[in-house]
């Protein structure tokens, strides 16, 4: 899809093949896609269609077998490991299906962790972490560890961690998959608010039609290829 807006991510004919023993699994079979600033993009498709693999490539968590993935104008395949770590740290935020919070850190320390990696001073990162947690309605839970939080609360802490670093792009892999309906709805409303108020670009994979309803762009993958790419109005407020 062509768009006059700046392309944050350009994927050109990307392929990804996993080898397990003698078995080769072609997860992506030549995907081309642009993600633009301001997108609130849902990646949909059946299991095994390549949604998570594509998110991992865009998030510099993995390298493509073939093709090109450019994030903020930088070709990931030519970047060193440390440069890709720096890109993830400064420009990208992640929300995983399994939350992936550091289990031994409290909610506020989890948010602070990324800010510390960015080099922020102790008092600055503590105040920003508390501010973001408060904005997400988690102020009361700041000193709790992940195992003392519900699934929905953990995922909101994961979102807080992702946006506290002020990334240009947040990637969320099935963020609502482990949440009940109400928590999923709450999370999507939160992500939409962050998108609308802070101009954060969101890309998330999902199976859930209620989640898709929040998206302004829906990319459907089938068998490792883009089968459709549609701009739409939000279905729900």
């Amino acid at each position: 899809m062509n768009d006059a807006r700046d392309a944050l991510v350009v994927v050109e004919d990307a392929t990804k093949t996993f080898t397990t023993g003698r078995l080769e699994v072609r997860a992506l079979r030549g995907i081309s896609l642009e993600i633009h600033e301001g997108d609130f993009l849902a990646l949909v498709g059946p299991s095994g269609s390549g949604k998570t693999t594509l998110l991992n490539l865009v998030g510099a968590l993995d390298r493509p077998t073939g093709g090109v993935v450019r994030v903020l104008g930088r070709d990931l395949s030519t970047m060193k490991k440390s440069a890709r770590a720096e890109l993830r740290l400064r420009e990208l935020g992640f929300v995983f299906q399994a939350y992936n919070l550091v289990p031994v850190l409290t909610a506020v320390e989890n948010v602070e962790f990324v800010l510390e990696l960015q080099g922020l001073g102790a008092s600055a990162r503590r105040s920003r972490a508390l501010e973001v947690l408060a904005e997400l309605g988690l102020a009361e839970l700041a000193d709790r560890r992940p195992n003392e939080l519900s699934g929905g609360q953990q995922q909101r802490v994961a979102v807080a961690r992702a946006i506290a670093a002020r990334p240009k792009l947040v990637l969320a892999d099935e963020p609502t998959a482990n949440l009940d309906g109400a928590s999923a709805e709450q999370l999507m409303a939160l992500m939409r608010r962050l998108h609308d108020e802070h101009d954060v670009t969101f890309v998330f994979s999902t199976h859930d039609p209620r989640v898709v309803a929040h998206a302004t762009r829906v990319v459907t993958l089938v068998d490792g290829k883009v089968s459709s790419d549609v701009e739409k109005e939000r279905d729900a407020a």
Binding site: L61, K81, E86, L87, R88, L89, F94, V104, L117, A165
Partner: protein, 412 residues
């Protein structure tokens, strides 16, 4: 506190079983190294003590031909004056004059070859002397004798028995005397136990016609046995000693000295084997502990943690664990060695043997009981070695993980 240390400390607390397992492995490794070290120290010291104690001292003075020919006339003249000058040297702890005279000991109709040993009984009851620890009541009078334990057993001698001694005087005359057994003696010297009849130095001088003379002056330095060459150099300057043969204990018994050195190397090899076995256990525990955290480490990479930072997080945990484990092992090992040092260890009872036995080798009786001990410096090699193994074993999988793409690590 930086998050690296915070994560390290909390991870150790959170994974109690894993932490306990690693701590125990590291502590056991250090304990084993220290226990072997202590045992070796005790053994080497006991061996050196046996050699450089009553039998040889640190150095000996003889007539130049005495060791070769053992002739009764090959004596140290004016031995008492030379002995007094030797005792006045600052580096000398003790010095004794001795006479060794082969003789026939007859009791009723039985005769037996013996060696009459004339010693300064009052002086040799002191530390390092042939009669160290001899109770006052057992001191023989001028016509009394102490007999070696094995000689007493084999000849059926007991206290109060009379022995007729027949030998050759230093002047070539026929020497004979009658002595009464006043005690049975167990010494570290096998020869004395088997053949020794110990009498006062003056008695021996009378019987064997050796006025003011001796066959040997046995000297123990104030320093360690290995400082014997310096002691010999000092002895060479003593008036009256210049014409004598003066040798260190290593020169007197080169085979025995070599045996101690070889045993020391053997001990080092045993310790290396124990260390390698213990280190393998530690390495295995730490490797498994870090490998099973691969997914967690991958997640940290995904957040933008640099590979270097990731390695530092694992390193912090390993260093904390290693230091605590080694400290614990040092306490346990030092405690064990202290206990063993106090009660003594008798390796001859480790098999099916129920009773302790002495070990005779190269003419020496080694007391079978070893008293292990540690020097402060002995703790260091284990401390460094075990800590390094713990850290390297944790570092290796961490480095492998840090080289992976975050998703590869998270897939496990």
């Amino acid at each position: 506190m930086p998050s690296t240390l915070r994560i390290a400390f909390r991870n150790l607390g959170r994974n109690g079983r894993r932490t306990a397992l690693a701590l125990v492995a590291i502590a056991i490794a250090q304990t084993a190294v220290l226990a072997i070290d202590g045992l070796m120290n005790g053994w080497v010291e006991a061996s050196l003590e046996a050699m450089t104690g009553p039998m040889m001292g640190h150095a000996q003075l003889h007539h130049p031909d005495w060791r070769e020919e053992r002739g009764p006339d090959l004596v140290i003249e004016d031995a008492d004056a030379t002995l007094a000058r030797i005792r006045a040297l600052p580096d000398v702890e003790s010095a004794y004059a001795r006479i060794y005279a082969p003789a026939l000991a007859a009791r009723e109709v039985d005769g037996r070859a013996v060696v009459v040993v004339g010693v300064d009984i009052a002086a040799e009851r002191g530390p390092g002397g042939l009669l160290a620890g001899l109770p006052e009541g057992a001191i023989p009078d001028a016509r009394g004798a102490l007999v070696g334990s094995r000689l007493a057993r084999e000849a059926g001698l007991s206290v109060g028995d009379e022995l007729a001694l027949l030998g050759q005087g230093a002047d070539g005359s026929f020497a004979n005397d009658l002595v009464r057994v006043s005690g049975v003696l167990q010494t570290p010297i096998d020869l004395v136990n088997r053949m020794g009849v110990i009498v006062h130095l003056e008695t021996a001088r009378d019987v064997f016609v050796m006025p003011g003379q001796a066959h040997e002056i046995n000297v123990r330095g104030a320093g360690a046995p290995d400082e014997a060459p310096a002691l010999v150099a000092a002895l060479r300057g003593v008036e009256g000693a210049d014409a004598l043969e003066i040798l260190t204990w290593r020169e007197l018994a080169p085979q025995l000295s070599q045996f101690i050195d070889i045993a020391g190397v053997y001990g080092l090899v045993v310790m290396m084997i124990v260390f390698i076995a213990a280190a393998a256990g530690v390495a295995n525990t730490m490797l498994m502990a870090t490998f099973e955290r691969r997914r967690e480490l991958g997640m940290l990479l995904s957040l933008g943690t640099s590979p270097g930072r990731l390695v530092r997080i694992v390193l912090a945990e390993a260093v904390i664990l290693g230091l605590f484990g080694v400290a614990l092992g040092t306490l346990l090992g030092a405690g064990l060695v202290l206990y063993q040092g106090a009660v003594g260890v008798d390796p001859t009872t480790w098999g099916n043997q129920e009773e302790s036995m002495d070990v005779a080798m190269y003419g020496l009786n080694w007391a079978a009981t070893i008293h292990p001990y540690l020097r402060p410096a002995d703790v260091l090699p284990g401390f460094v070695g075990v800590s390094v193994v713990s850290v390297v074993a944790a570092l290796w999988p961490a480095l492998i993980t840090a080289r992976l793409e975050p998703m590869e690590a998270m897939r496990g």
